[in-house]
């Protein structure tokens, strides 16, 4: 059932080559004497250039899933492929190389280095990348060309998050993984941040996954994946993407 968005987001049924393929991903944490089942057998594919929103209440396992896709964590069982590379078989060194080359992360609390300026925070990434955007250019993408030499403490929350996005995209990553990027922001700043993410997805064709518990954000995605209790409860394709400015929450 081809739709308007199918051109940039091929169906996840394996017709086009997916960026991510996950099969039976399970994650169990041992907290004290109890086992917490964060993920209970996830099957998922994300296509090239696709903008996916992973929606779910807290504790549904969405952060765990994102961390596994980003090579920050490894599942207890199941397998995850990035193109042909099996992440679940990779060692620490290989995962580091994978993150370094292919993944851009954006976190809820920005995780900027407080002792470095906006430009330097971006440079942190460009210095270890093969073909990065200049830090100034990356910051211009998120409309922060005039805040280059500000330290995180001198920036608003929204600005800090945009620095984080600039930092994530400066390496021209193949995938952009955002964990509650607007979770700590109000609507207005949240929208500006989402616009930056949307622009990166659109202009650079970066496969993007955004985690949120805010259902309103789901409307800007190609596809919405709902998680509940460590399982995918539903996966649906938006017939029409809504621009961030038109979101309401």
């Amino acid at each position: 059932m081809p739709g308007a968005s199918e051109a940039t987001a091929p169906p996840a049924d394996g017709l086009a080559r997916p960026v991510f393929r996950a099969r039976g991903v399970t994650k169990v944490y041992h907290v004290g004497e109890v086992d917490v089942h964060a993920l209970r057998g996830i099957d998922l594919e994300l296509g090239s250039g696709e903008f996916a929103v992973l929606l779910g209440p807290s504790g549904s396992g969405k952060s765990t899933l994102l961390n596994i896709l980003g090579g920050l964590d490894v599942p207890t069982a199941g397998e995850v492929f990035f193109h042909d590379r099996e992440l679940t078989a990779a060692g620490e060194r290989e995962l580091t190389r994978y993150r370094r080359r292919h993944v851009g992360f954006v976190f809820q609390f920005y995780n900027l280095i407080p002792s470095l300026t906006a430009r330097e925070n971006v440079a942190l990434v460009t210095e270890i990348s093969a073909d990065p955007l200049p830090p100034e250019e990356a910051l211009a993408v998120v409309d922060l060309a005039d805040r280059l030499d500000h330290f995180p403490a001198q920036l608003s929350g929204g600005e800090q998050q945009r620095v984080a996005i600039a930092r994530a995209i400066a390496k021209r990553p193949e995938v952009l993984l955002c964990d509650e990027p607007t979770g700590a922001l109000d609507i207005t700043t949240g929208v500006v941040v989402l616009e930056a993410i949307e622009r990166v997805n659109r202009e650079f064709g970066t496969t993007t996954a955004v985690i949120t518990h805010n259902a309103a954000i789901a409307r800007m995605a190609d596809r919405v994946i709902r998680l509940a209790d460590g399982r995918i409860a539903a996966s649906q394709r938006n017939a029409e993407k809504v621009a961030p400015r038109e979101l309401e929450w």
Partner: protein, 788 residues
């Protein structure tokens, strides 16, 4: 510069107070190392240069009177390079302003300098002798300084019963007298002992030694065997009253100087280790806290693709920065202090010049240990940062797991207030950190004990020496042994309350292939003034026959009770006897040998001769006695207990107090470094908690109690541990420093313990106050906003 390096530098700048405190602790260790080793190097170089330039002899021997023609036969001994014969004599000097007699040693020098004399003089002021002026002398600088004498002044000497006026034409130093101390004494006393260099012919005439000599100095060919040369020279001198040759290593001045240098070198290698250990400990505590604070940063760096190696290196840089700062600070301070210490040594050791140098190996060694300490201090933090799983690192840290403390478990919990409970549980939660802090602070206390115990040891040594062993007020030495009745004559002198016979016999002791020059001290079994004392401070009752050796002498000879030692007497008829060792006595001062006085006389096959007398003097009439003693030709010299104690107080004690000040500063650096860092780390961990309490209505004093109470407990635990640790280190030092000259007793006075405790407590209090100011400025709103 790379962004990550920039981050390291800026983060370091943020904790500059703590980083500096650690750098200063490490720097203090570096400074001590450089101070002591550069002083050692400099004095060693000065010594060698002085010896070379002024041709210090390598073998020394004496005789009663040997004919000058023997000089050529000594020169012909295989291995001898050069020979210098001369006359050396001790006389009583009359110096203006001194009641007591002063001992002057007259040493013959050529009337005309040829250049190339052995044991040549360095003339500091004035001029050399005029060739034909027999009344001119050069005197040693220390003696001249002590009496305010200079060229143009004169001293009166009692030479062979006649008073002679000697005109001082110059002040000089000799490589033979770098440490100027009379035989039998152990402290320099420039007021009562002087060296006078005089025209050799004049001296020979005055002492009826024309055509003869009583002292000889040699240098050797490269590769010559010292013992063989000495044995050959001894054989030549024996018929002429030879007193036995000694190698340079046993020459008085050289012996003392080397002993001091050895101490400096070993101290320089041991003491800095304390600082470096504490520095490493501090860095471990602080960096671990930094990594804990930067947990999320470490996580995001890993998420961004930084490798473990890069992140590990990032924290190693912190250690490197601290090490560099420590090495730079320490090298600068150590160079400055080393120069001061080198110059200060010239108060005891007289060199005509000082060469101060800090060698490249010393600086490299110091830098290397600074880096070793710093890198050791980064190991655990680096491992922690590397081991952090990135996904977990970015989640807030779980609340620390606390448990009820043992105080509570044994049922004393009801006695504790909530804040007290918080203090105890917090200490229990991080037992290793608490232990590290306690050990660090304890080292500060230990360093104080280590710095001060030598003063206690010296006090003890003086006390034992002068109040228990040598209770006489004065010791008179005769020029030649006198008949026994002389003791009664001395006893009749004005002011003498008690006079006891003294009989010292120069000997060489042999056992197997080992031998040693020494003097046997003959003491009456019931002596009341001078006695031999054992380790438990009881007088040793000398057995009716046999030798009693000090433990060091026994060790040098490899002798024990029951061994039979060969005694070669080096005076009079020079008998050689075999004498059993009757016992070994544990003494503070090195190389003694005792015999009951009558047994000694039997050994010598002589009647009741004596070489001197021990006197107890009526203080009120002392001046009269001294004036009389100065006039007696039979008296070679007099030494006074009061003078020795005064000289000790002026020189050694003054010196020890300077070094105590040094140790207070350095111990303070350690204590401040540890307490301040412990407090800052605690504050950083608990700012949120303490601010929350303030929000709940706790006062500043109450939250200060929680933070500072923890430090107070650590400090109070550290004080006794420090004293104990200090005792252990002092004991190690005592056994390491035991030399032939003396062995410092291990005595630690209440004063030392108190000083140690006070220094630590004061430093802790100061650091506590510095942190308390930060607590007062705690921004409640800001702290609560910060995400944990």
């Amino acid at each position: 510069m790379r962004a990550l390096h920039r981050k390291a530098l800026r983060d370091l700048w943020r904790i500059r107070g703590q980083a500096l405190a650690i750098s200063v602790v490490i720097g203090a260790g570096v400074a001590m190392y450089i101070t002591m080793l550069s002083t050692f190097d400099s004095l060693r170089l000065t010594q060698q240069t002085y010896y070379d330039r002024y041709r210090f002899a390598e073998v020394f021997a004496g005789a009663k009177r040997a004919p000058q023609r023997l000089a050529q036969r000594i020169a012909d001994v295989p291995g001898v390079r050069r020979v210098a014969t001369r006359v050396v004599a001790e006389v009583t000097l009359d110096v203006a302003g001194m009641d007591e007699p002063v001992v002057g040693r007259l040493i013959a020098i050529p009337g005309r300098r040829t250049g190339g004399e052995l044991n040549d003089l360095a003339i500091l002021e004035g001029r050399y002798l005029e060739p034909d002026r027999f009344d001119e002398v050069l005197v040693n600088e220390g003696f001249a300084g002590a009496h305010g004498l200079g060229p143009g002044d004169a001293v009166t000497a009692l030479i062979n019963g006649r008073r002679r006026r000697l005109e001082i034409v110059g002040l000089a130093l000799s490589p033979e007298y770098v440490y100027t101390v009379r035989p039998g004494e152990w402290l320099p006393d420039d007021r009562r002992f002087g060296l006078l260099w005089m025209n050799g012919r004049a001296l020979a005439t005055a002492f009826d030694m024309e055509g003869g000599f009583n002292d000889v100095a040699l240098t050797l060919m490269p590769g010559a065997s010292e013992p063989e040369v000495i044995a050959a020279v001894d054989r030549l001198l024996d018929p002429w009253g030879g007193r036995g040759g000694i190698p340079r290593s046993q020459q008085m001045s050289h012996w003392w100087l080397n002993d001091q240098l050895t101490q400096l070198e070993s101290m320089g290698k041991v003491v800095p280790l304390i600082f470096l250990g504490v520095g490493a400990l501090l860095l471990t505590i602080v960096l671990n806290r930094i990594v804990a604070v930067q947990r999320a940063q470490v996580g995001s760096l890993k998420a961004l693709g930084y490798s473990n190696r890069e992140i590990g290196w990032h924290y190693v840089i912190w250690g490197v920065a601290v090490a560099v700062a420590g090495a730079v600070l320490g090298t600068a301070a150590g160079t400055w202090l080393g120069r001061g210490l080198t110059v200060w040594h010239n108060d005891f050791f007289r060199f005509p010049f000082l060469i101060y140098r800090v060698t490249a190996p010393t600086v490299l060694g110091a830098t290397a240990i600074s880096f070793a300490a710093a890198l050791l201090g980064t190991v655990s933090a680096v491992r922690r940062a590397v081991g952090l799983p990135p996904a977990e690192a970015m989640r807030p840290e779980a609340p620390g797991s606390y448990h009820r403390t043992w105080v509570e478990r044994v049922g004393l919990g009801a006695l504790l207030t909530e804040p007290a409970r918080m203090i105890l549980r917090n200490l229990q939660r991080r037992p290793w950190r608490a232990t590290a802090s306690v050990v660090g602070i304890a080292f500060a206390g230990a360093l104080m004990v280590l710095g001060m115990f030598s003063l206690d040891g010296m006090d003890e040594m003086m006390d034992v020496q002068f109040n228990v062993a040598q209770r006489q007020d004065a010791t008179v030495t005769f020029v030649e042994p006198q008949p026994a009745a002389a003791v009664y004559e001395v006893g009749r002198l004005p002011g003498v309350m008690v006079a006891e016979s003294a009989r010292n016999v120069p000997v060489r002791l042999r056992l197997g292939h080992r031998s040693r020059q020494a003097a046997i001290t003959g003491l009456a079994a019931d002596a009341r003034l001078n006695r031999a004392i054992d380790a438990s401070l009881r007088p040793v009752v000398l057995p009716p026959a046999g030798l009693v050796l000090s433990s060091k002498m026994a060790e040098v000879l490899g002798a024990g009770a029951g061994d039979v030692v060969t005694v070669e007497v080096l005076e009079g008829a020079r008998p050689v006897r075999r004498v059993p060792v009757a016992g070994v006595v544990d003494e503070y001062f090195g190389m003694s040998a005792y015999m009951e006085i009558d047994a000694l006389r039997r050994l010598l096959r002589e009647g009741g001769s004596l070489s001197g007398a021990y006197l107890q003097v009526d203080e009120g009439r002392a001046a009269v006695l001294y004036r009389q003693l100065k006039e007696l030709p039979a008296v070679a010299g007099v030494s006074f207990k009061a003078a020795t104690i005064q000289s000790f107080n002026e020189t050694i004690k003054g010196a020890v107090w300077i070094s105590i000040l040094f140790y207070v500063v350095f111990a303070g650096i350690i204590a401040v470094g540890v307490v301040y860092n412990a407090a800052r780390v605690s504050l950083s961990e608990r700012a949120h908690e303490l601010a929350s309490l303030r929000v709940l209505g706790f006062t500043r004093a109450e939250i200060s109690f929680i933070l500072l109470g923890e430090l107070a407990i650590l400090t109070l635990l550290a004080v006794p541990l420090g004293l104990l640790l200090g005792w252990v280190l002092s004991a190690l030092t005592v056994s390491a420093y035991e030399t032939e000259i003396y062995r410092l007793p291990l005595v630690i006075s209440p004063r030392t313990l108190a000083m140690s405790a006070i220094t630590v407590l004061a430093a802790a209090l100061l650091s506590g106050l510095a942190v308390r100011r930060r607590l007062d400025r705690l921004d409640l709103v800001e702290v609560l906003k910060v995400r944990e």
